[in-house]
Each structure stands twice: as C-alpha cells, then as structure tokens.
Symmetry: C2
Subunit: 343 residues, 2 copies
C-alpha cells in the first residue's frame, strides 16, 4: 500500500472524527489526544486486537464487519465494568493484500459501531505489516469512582445471570465455514446466527443498569465462552459456581442449526465465545428486583445458576447431577488463542 493511500485513510478518519470540543481538548492530528474526565468519574481502559487468520478470515467477515466487531469487542469490555464507552484509539496494520478501499470500509465499520455507542476516535496509528491485517483498538471510557463492577465480587449466596443467549456467534461461524466446507444449505432463519457472529451487540445499557441500580455484583463479558468467563469469576471471587444446563439461554435458531449438523448446542454456548453478553452475579435477595429493572428497560435477563462457598471452580448441573465444567474454550482457526491481559 502506497504512502498516499495511508494518507487517504488518515484523511478519511480525520474527517469523520477529528473534531474537538465536548470533553476533547486535542483530537486527531497532534502527538497525542487530550480529554477531560468529569468530576466523580474514573477512566476505564482496555485494548483488544483482531488478527487476520487468527480471529477472522476474509471469507467470514467483510472489511466493514471486521471494523465493527473490533469496536464491539472493546466496547463490551467497558460494558463489563459498568462503564460508559467514550474514546477509541485505533491501530491498523495493513498487509500488501489489502487495498485502500477495503481499509476505508474497515473504518466505516469502526465508525458505525462508534456512532451507535457514542464513541469518538481520538487517535491511532496506521502501519504496514508484511502479512496479515491486524486491528488493535484501545477503548477509553468513564465509570463512577470506586464503583466499577469486578470479576472478583461474586459471593456465596449470589445468583448467576446472563443478559442474553449465548453460542449464537460460534454457530454463525460454523454456518459460514460449513457453507464453504460442507455445502450445507442454510435455512433463512439461521441468518440470525451469522449476524450475531459478524455484527454482535455490546451490552452497555445492561452494564450501566447493573452499576446504577447498585444490584449487580460481579460482572464479566462473554468473549471467550460461557465456561471460561464463569471460571474467571469463580477464580477471581474464590467461589464455586453451579450452572444449570437447562437454564442456559440459547436462540431457537441456534438449537435447530445445531440439530441439523449433529452438534450439542451447549458446546457452542460454553466454548464458542464472542457473544458479548454479560455474565454476572446478584445477591439472591435482590434478583427479583434486578429482573424487574431489566424488564422495565426492555432488556433480557436470565438466571442460570448459583454462587456457592467451596473450592473455586465451575460445575454443570444437568438432569439432577453435577459435574465439573472444564475451563478451556476453543479457538476457531488455530490451536492457540489470544490471551487478553485485561479482557
């Protein structure tokens, strides 16, 4: 990619995001961006990278989807702290196989997600890479001082909840890959699963409700699969978590697609990941109030298990018996997945 094509991307992003004001003192176009933080608020910061062939394939994600999903995965991390997403710094590494027009569409996807969640792009870096495209985003947000929702806050006596169905993204990916590999004829309603994989939703409103109501205790987002995220809460909180298999929310489209390919849908729910729902805990005595608050805001809410005293770990309760739920997820394309130091 030639230097003037980088300039084009830069110009395009500058046109879309470079404005100052509304908390931003210095936007794009200087050595660093500068923004103010409202009194009583702290900064929430995370970063998450997506690498071609490791996290996505050109065949399964359009350039616009790639940008969109990279933003969502970061916004979701802010949501999982109960925070408000505010600013993004986007680093794109462009390899020779990617055209300027495709890069522009990646930024369009970033822009679409940014607009939807009121995020402004305030910085970044555009570099050449020899091989795979990579997209690394830092997202900065705000949260009320001392009130961020932690993984480590679950307590025995809490109930475990989810903000929506899980496993859809993995099923959608399977459908995308099987079209190519197994020539499965997709049913029109399965398209929902593909959309969940390519254009997921971040649960910012749910995260804010959990924080503002004072009822949410532990919180985590489902980026690596329900099992792995429940394990993170169990280990960080020093508790035993029991998930009831029948209560795991899954889309009917996901179940029917799983049946058609002879797959246990719980495998996708537990080990698929990239659903970006929130999993958390609420004191049992407050669960009904919280469920009502979610209902009032038109947000889904599912109780799916309990937090108990005991050796930290996750158990699956199914047909009256409990068995340990293994921690490990799987990676879609490779044996080794990314490890998020704060994700």
């Amino acid at each position: 990619m030639a230097r003037d094509e980088f300039a084009l991307i830069r110009e395009w992003t500058g046109r879309s995001y470079g404005l100052e004001g509304n908390g931003v003192s210095v936007g794009l176009g200087d050595d660093a961006a500068v923004f103010s933080v409202a009194a009583g608020m702290e900064v929430v910061a995370c970063c998450d990278a997506m690498i071609e062939t490791v996290h996505f394939l050109r065949e399964t994600m359009s350039p616009c989807d790639i940008g969109y999903k990279a933003m969502i995965s970061n916004i979701s991390d802010i949501a999982a702290m109960g925070g408000i997403p505010r600013y993004a710094l986007v680093t794109i590494g462009v390899s020779p196989g990617w055209q300027a027009d495709e890069c522009k569409r990646i930024y369009e996807g970033i822009d679409q997600a940014a607009k939807l969640y009121n995020v402004r792009m305030i910085g970044g870096d555009t570099v050449a890479t020899p091989d795979a495209l990579h997209l690394s985003i830092t997202l900065l947000g705000e949260v009320e001082s001392g009130r961020a929702l932690r993984r480590s806050s679950a307590r025995a006596g809490d109930l475990l909840f989810l903000t929506g169905p899980v496993g859809s993204s993995a099923a959608g990916l399977d459908l995308l890959l099987s079209r190519r590999e197994r020539a499965v004829e997709p049913r029109p309603d399965w398209q929902t699963l593909v959309a969940q994989h390519q254009r997921p939703t971040a649960q910012v409103e749910a995260g804010r409700l959990l924080l503002k109501s004072g009822l949410g205790r532990a919180l985590n987002d489902i980026s690596d699969g329900l099992a792995s995220e429940a394990w993170e809460i169990a280990e960080a909180s020093g508790c035993k978590i029991v998930i009831e298999a029948e209560r795991v929310p899954m889309l009917e489209e996901m179940r029917s697609y799983a049946a058609s390919v002879g797959k246990n849908p719980l495998d996708w729910a537990f080990y698929g990941g990239e659903d970006y729902q929130l999993i958390g805990s609420v004191p049992a005595t407050e669960a009904e109030t919280l469920a009502a608050a979610f209902a009032e805001h038109g947000l889904p809410f599912y109780l799916l298990g309990t937090v108990e005293a005991g050796q930290p770990g996750v158990w699956l309760s199914e047909q009256g018996s409990e068995r340990p739920l293994p921690k490990a997820g799987y990676n879609h394309f490779k044996d080794e997945a990314g490890e998020d130091q704060n994700g």
Copy 2:
C-alpha cells in the same frame, strides 16, 4: 507458541505490574483497567505500533531493545504534549518464530523503560500473528487542563528550538546495517550512535519544563525526522519556518561516522527520525529566559531557526541563501512508512 507460553508471559507481566493502588482502582486481570485522574488534570492518550521488518529487524534490535524503544516512542508523544506519562496498555502479536523467552525479554525492555519514566502497565492483549512480531502500545498520561502544548501554537516572531542532537539514531541504524552489508570496522565512539538507535531517551523533563514555565509555545517530537516534524508545526500553525543549517545540533560521533561513509550528516538529521528530541517554538523575547531555565535543569537547549509570517512551509538557510526543505522523510526498511494519526 503454545497457550501455556502465553500464560507465562501473562503471569510474568501480571507479577510485574498488576498491583492496584496509587490511582489505579483496577489493574491487570479484569475486563478493563480503571484509574483516577487528579483534579485539574486532563488525560493525554496516544498509541504507536512497531512491526518487525517495517520498524525493526531482529539483527538490529534485541528483544529487550524492541520493548524498550516501543515504550520510549510512546512516552515521547506524551512528552511532546508537555504531559506526564502514567499508564501503558501493551498489545503484543507473537509470530511462530518468536520464543516465549524472547517475548519475556521484550517485556523486560518495556519494564525497564516503564520504571525509568514511572509508567505502570495496566492492560493489554497477547495474540498470535501468522508472520511478523508486532508491538502496539497505548500510553496514557496526565496534563494540566487546557495547557497541553500543541503543534499548532507557533506564531510569527517565535524562535525554533531543539532539546538535543538529531540524526544519531539514523546514523546508528546505518552503522548496524553496514556492519552486515559493507563490513565497516566501527570506531568505539560510534557505539554512542547505536545506543541512540536502540535505547533512545524521551524528553519528559524538557516537556514538563516547557509547559510549567509557560514559555513553550508549539511542541512536537522528532519521530519522523526534523524536516517532517518542522513541516507539521508549520502547517498546523500556518507559519513559515526557517532552519539555519549550521545550527542543527548533531553529535560529533555522528559527523565523523557520516564523513567515513561519505554521507551528508544533515540528511540523517532531517530525514532520519526516531531521535525523540523535542522541537518547538518560543516567543523570541522569552528565548533567553527559557534557555536559562533549561540550563538550570541541566537540560540541553538549541536555537535553530525562526518562525515567520508567510506561506506554511519549511526553508533551509545555508551559506546565506534559503531553499525549501522537502517534507518527505524516508523509511528504513521499506518504501511505505507508518502514518501516525496522532504522532
């Protein structure tokens, strides 16, 4: 690289940086980090990526140097705003040719620079990449509200200054490459140039002095070469900049090495980059006071030209005549360099 090797890196970085307190409410190990900002301060944010084969070669930089320099290039961007570097989020993309032990040494380099500049690692991501190693760092700092030093603040009547010699890093790289390609026998004193390339210094103290004294006007850091950075100030400020060739500070070692390889040292000074000195402007009436303040702090200070009214651009004054100084720098390894959206 196997999953447990990623875990090892994660564990290692967690051990070194994961602690909370002192402004950090949530450190490594949750979905996002959370920190507070002191009253009267704003957040300064930048990010800068370094890609193997584009920004460095294994032959010219040890793993420890790579980590160290990636931190410095980001800390330098904070310095160029007059800010205080505080927190880092580090994303490393590890390709199959890199061993866990080398990755650990990259983090050791990051750690060394972080300790030197009081920066804490609060987050990041560790991912696999198919080919080249990449290291992308977001640096967050603080600056007094409304007082960040901008590229756009130069005014006609200002004098142009530099905080130290330029061109040393490019000369050091040339020396490293020529050892391999031209079998040049290096003189011991040229080792200084190699050190400037591998272990540069960020001018945080100078940046703070410029801000706190109230005397610094425009400011920029030399990441892409003196010509390119002067052009950025000229264009952002809408001024003509005139640089006097004889005043450009260059190390004696750099001049002698340039002479030995038949190179004009000004080429490295103007187009080499990665010196991480600060270039800025000061009202002419305040230049003497500012120079005295630098001297008092034991910091170098060089006046090298003037800011004038006129068509935005950079001119070189040499032996009594002025000629336009081209903007373009060069890239060390490839034809297309990275473009920093805020760097």
